[in-house]
Symmetry: C2
C-alpha cells in the first residue's frame, strides 16, 4: 500500500553509502509525491542533494510536492542560479507562496535574475490578500477568443499547453479579456472541427471575485463539482483560475485549523511531528493559561457562596455534575454551529432560527438530565429540597449552555473574527462559572 | 454573490401562483446546483413538480444535486416509469446510493423495469461495503486497448463519451481488463495522431484496491492531485474510478463527522437545519447522558475525600481550576492526535513517539500552570502547604490529561473503532474524576 515505505530501507542505505546511481534509479520510477514523502524526514541538505540528482523535470516535480517550509530550507542549500531555475518552473501560485516564506533580502536578490514575465507575475500575485481567491489562483490557464473554430482552438491549445496548469476547462474572453464563456476540453474534442467556439461555449460561466475569501471559494467547489473555477476582477476581467487540487488542499487545511481551534490549540500550520516542541508548547500554553485564568472566576464564585455551602455541605458533591453538564451542552452547540457556518449550512441571517432551535433543545435536554439528576440525588439520600435544586439547576445550566454555545460563534463571525476560536474548552470554562451562579441561586431559593 | 438568493422571492411567488411558465424560464438559465439550492427548502411534493417541469436533461441534472434524503422523498411523488427514467440516467454510484435509501419492496418493484445493463451494475455495486472505494466509485469510465493509435483512440472516445463520467483520464487495459496504463486527455490531444497508445501511456499507474477505506482514498487525492483514481480488484482488473468531486464531498463529510464526534454529538449525516429536532435531541441526549453518568464518579470521588475536605475547606475552591486544567490539556491532545490520524500525519507505528512527546509536553505545561496556580493560591492567603498541593496537583493533572488525551484515540483506532469518538468532553469528564483523585492524594500527603 505505502509504496514509499517499502523503499525506505533501500533509500536510507543508498544515501548513507553516497550511492547516487542506485538512488536515482529508485526515484526515477516513483511518482514525485512518493519521492517527496520518502525524503521528507531527511535533512534539507540531503533533500537538496536529491533534487539536484534528479533529471529535469523530475527534480522540479518533486520539489513542488515538498511542504513550504522544506522548500524554503532546501533553497538555502542551492545556488542562486539553481534557485531561479526552480522558481521559474513553479506554477505562479506556488512560486508566490514560496517567495513569501523567504527573507526579504533573498527575494530582492532573486527577482532581478528572473525573466520579466515571471517577475511581473510575482508582483501581481503578491498583492492579493492572504486567504483570498487571488492568493490561491494560478495565472496559467487556457483562454481563447470566441470567433475561432474548433480546429483552430485545438491548434492554439497545443501551442500553449506546456504553460497552462489545466486545459480541461478553457475560458473564452473578449478583446478586453472579460470572461464571456467557458468550454470543457471534453466538449471541444467531441465537437465538429468547423464549429465556431461561440456556438458551443456556455455563456456567463460561474466565476468568483479576486477578493473572495478562500473558504467561500472552496464551498463553490463542493457545490459545483468543478475541476477549476475562473477568478475575475471588478471589471469582470479574467485574472486567473483556482484548480480543484488547490481547493482540496485548502479545504483540508482550513478544516485542520478549525478542529485545532475548537480543541483550544492555536492552529499549528504544519503536521503534528513537524511542529517544533517549543512552538507547540507555546501554542497550547497560551490557551491553557487563558482558560486557567478564566477558571479563577469559578473559584471566586464558589467562595462567594461559602455560607450556603457550609449550611448544606451536600451541595458540593454535585458541583462537578452540574457545571460539566452545562459545558458539555455548550460544547455540542459550539461544535455544531461552527461547523455548519464553515460548510455554509447555517448563514448569518439564520441567527433567530438558531436561537429558537437551541432554546428548545436546551429545555428538552435540560429536563431530561434534570430528571436523572433528581433521581440520582434522591437515591443518595440528599433530601427532597436539595434533589429538587439539582434538577432545576440542571435545566437552567443546560439551557444556558446551548444558548451560549450556539450564539458565541455567530456573534464572533458577525464581528469579523473566526467563529472557531470560540473553542469548546472556552465555552466549557465560561459555563463552569455561570453554572455555579445558577446552581447556588436556585439552591438558596429552594432551601 | 448568492445568485439563488436573488431569485428566491420570484420563485416562491411563481410557485404560489402556480405559474409554471415563468418558473421554467427562471430555472432554465440557472446552473443545476443553484436550482437545487433554491428548491431545497420546499416540500418534496413541490420539488417533484419542479423536476417534472424542467426539460430533459435539466430535470435529471437538478435531481442529481439534491441531497439523498430529498431524492428519496421526491421519488415518492413520481410515477414508477418516471422513477425508472431518472434512475437509469443517474451515474451508477449515485444510483446505488439512492436505491439503498429506498425501502426493499420499492427496489424489488423498480429493478424489473430497469434495463439489464443497469440492473447488473446495481447488483455489482451494492455488494461493496459501505465507506469503501467500491461503494464510492463509478463504473462509467473511459478505457482503451494499448495497441491502437491516437486518432483511433479519439474516435472511440467520441463514441463512448456520453456514457463516461470523465474522459480526462483514460485507462488502458489488456484483454483481461487488467489495468496496464493511464493517459490524460491532455496528453492524447497533444500527441501525434499516428502515435501508438502504448508508447505514450504511463505504465503501472497508481490505483486503489476496491476494499480500501474511503478515508484512505481521499488521502490519495490530497497527495497526488488526481482528477480521478482507478479502482482495481484482487487480480488487478479495473472495476471503476473514483472522481475528484466525490472525493471532495467525502472529505467534507468525514471532516464534519469527526468534528461532531469530537464535540460529543453522534454525527448528524445531514445539514444542521435539515436534521429533525427530535433526532438531534436524541443524538445529543445520548452523549450528554453518558457524560452525566460519568460525572457520578467525580461526585463519588469528592465524597470519598470528605474528611480531608472538612479539615481544609479551602481546598474546595480550587477543585474547578484543577480538574478543568486536566480536561483542557486532554482536549488539546485528543484534538491534535485525532486530526493527525485522520489526515495521516500520525500513523499507528508512531505510538511511542507520540507518548514521549506528550509526556514532555504535559510536564512543561503542567509546571507552567502549576507555578501560576501556586502564586494565585498564595495571593488568596491559602497558606504555603495548600498552595504547594495545588501547584503539584496541577503538574500531575495536566500530565495525565496530555497522556490520556493522546493515547485514547490511538488505542481506539488500534481496536478498530473510529478514534474521533474519544470526544473532547469525554476526555474532560474522565479527567474530572482522575483530577480529584490526584488533587486530594497530593493534598493528604502534603498537609
Amino acid at each position: 500500500m505505502h509504496i514509499s515505505q517499502l523503499f525506505l530501507p533501500e533509500v536510507t542505505d543508498a544515501i548513507e553509502r553516497g550511492d547516487l546511481q542506485s538512488l536515482r534509479a529508485v526515484f526515477e520510477d516513483l511518482h514525485p509525491s512518493d519521492v517527496a514523502e520518502l525524503v521528507h524526514n531527511l535533512s534539507s541538505e540531503r533533500v537538496a542533494a536529491v533534487i539536484r540528482l534528479l533529471r529535469f523535470p523530475k527534480g522540479i516535480d518533486v520539489f513542488e510536492q515538498l511542504d513550504l517550509q522544506m522548500q524554503a530550507d532546501v533553497l538555502k542549500h542551492l545556488g542562486r542560479i539553481e534557485t531561479v531555475n526552480i522558481l521559474e518552473e513553479l506554477s505562479p501560485d506556488d512560486r508566490v507562496d514560496l517567495l513569501q516564506k523567504l527573507p526579504d533580502q533573498t527575494i530582492e536578490s532573486l527577482l532581478p535574475l528572473m525573466a520579466q514575465a515571471e517577475r511581473d507575475e510575482v508582483k501581481k500575485l503578491i498583492r492579493y490578500g492572504e486567504n483570498t481567491a487571488g492568493a490561491l489562483m494560478t495565472t496559467e490557464y487556457a483562454h481563447l477568443p470566441a470567433h475561432i473554430d474548433v480546429s483552430e482552438a485545438l491548434d492554439l491549445l497545443r501551442k500553449g499547453a506546456p504553460d497552462t496548469e489545466t486545459i480541461y476547462y478553457i475560458y473564452i474572453t473578449d478583446s478586453e479579456r472579460r470572461l464571456i464563456g467557458a468550454l470543457s476540453l471534453r466538449e471541444l474534442v467531441l465537437a465538429r472541427p468547423t464549429e465556431k467556439i461561440e456556438n458551443i461555449m456556455s455563456k456567463d460561466p460561474i466565476s468568483v471575485p479576486v477578493d473572495m475569501d478562500q473558504e467561500e471559494v472552496v464551498q463553490k467547489f463542493g457545490k459545483y463539482d468543478f475541476i477549476a473555477i475562473p477568478v475575475v476582477d471588478r471589471d469582470q476581467r479574467l485574472v486567473g483560475i483556482v484548480t480543484h487540487d488547490d481547493a482540496f488542499d485548502v479545504a483540508v487545511e482550513e478544516q485542520t485549523e478549525d478542529v485545532q481551534q475548537l480543541g483550544a490549540v492555536v492552529p499549528l500550520d504544519e503536521p503534528y511531528f513537524q511542529a517544533s516542541f517549543w512552538k507547540l508548547a507555546q501554542k497550547r500554553g497560551l490557551w491553557l493559561m487563558l482558560l486557567f485564568v478564566g477558571e479563577f472566576f469559578t473559584g471566586t464564585a464558589l467562595r462567594h457562596y461559602h455560607e450556603t455551602l457550609e449550611n448544606a455541605f451536600t451541595l458540593i458533591y454535585f458541583v462537578p455534575l452540574i457545571v460539566s453538564s452545562g459545558g458539555n451542552a455548550g460544547s455540542q452547540s459550539v461544535t455544531l454551529i461552527t461547523r455548519a457556518l464553515a460548510v455554509g449550512d447555517v448563514k448569518m441571517r439564520d441567527f433567530i432560527r438558531v436561537l429558537r432551535r437551541e432554546a428548545g433543545m436546551g429545555i428538552v435536554l435540560g429536563v431530561f438530565l434534570g430528571v436523572i439528576g433528581f433521581v440520582r440525588a434522591m437515591m443518595w439520600d440528599s433530601g427532597y429540597n436539595i434533589s429538587l435544586s439539582i434538577g432545576v439547576a440542571l435545566v437552567g445550566v443546560v439551557l444556558t449552555g446551548s444558548l451560549v454555545g450556539s450564539l458565541l460563534p455567530i456573534i464572533f463571525k458577525k464581528m469579523g473574527f473566526d467563529p472557531a476560536i470560540m473553542s469548546s474548552p472556552f465555552v466549557a470554562s465560561l459555563l463552569d462559572g455561570i453554572g455555579i451562579v445558577i446552581y447556588f441561586n436556585v439552591a438558596m431559593r429552594l432551601l
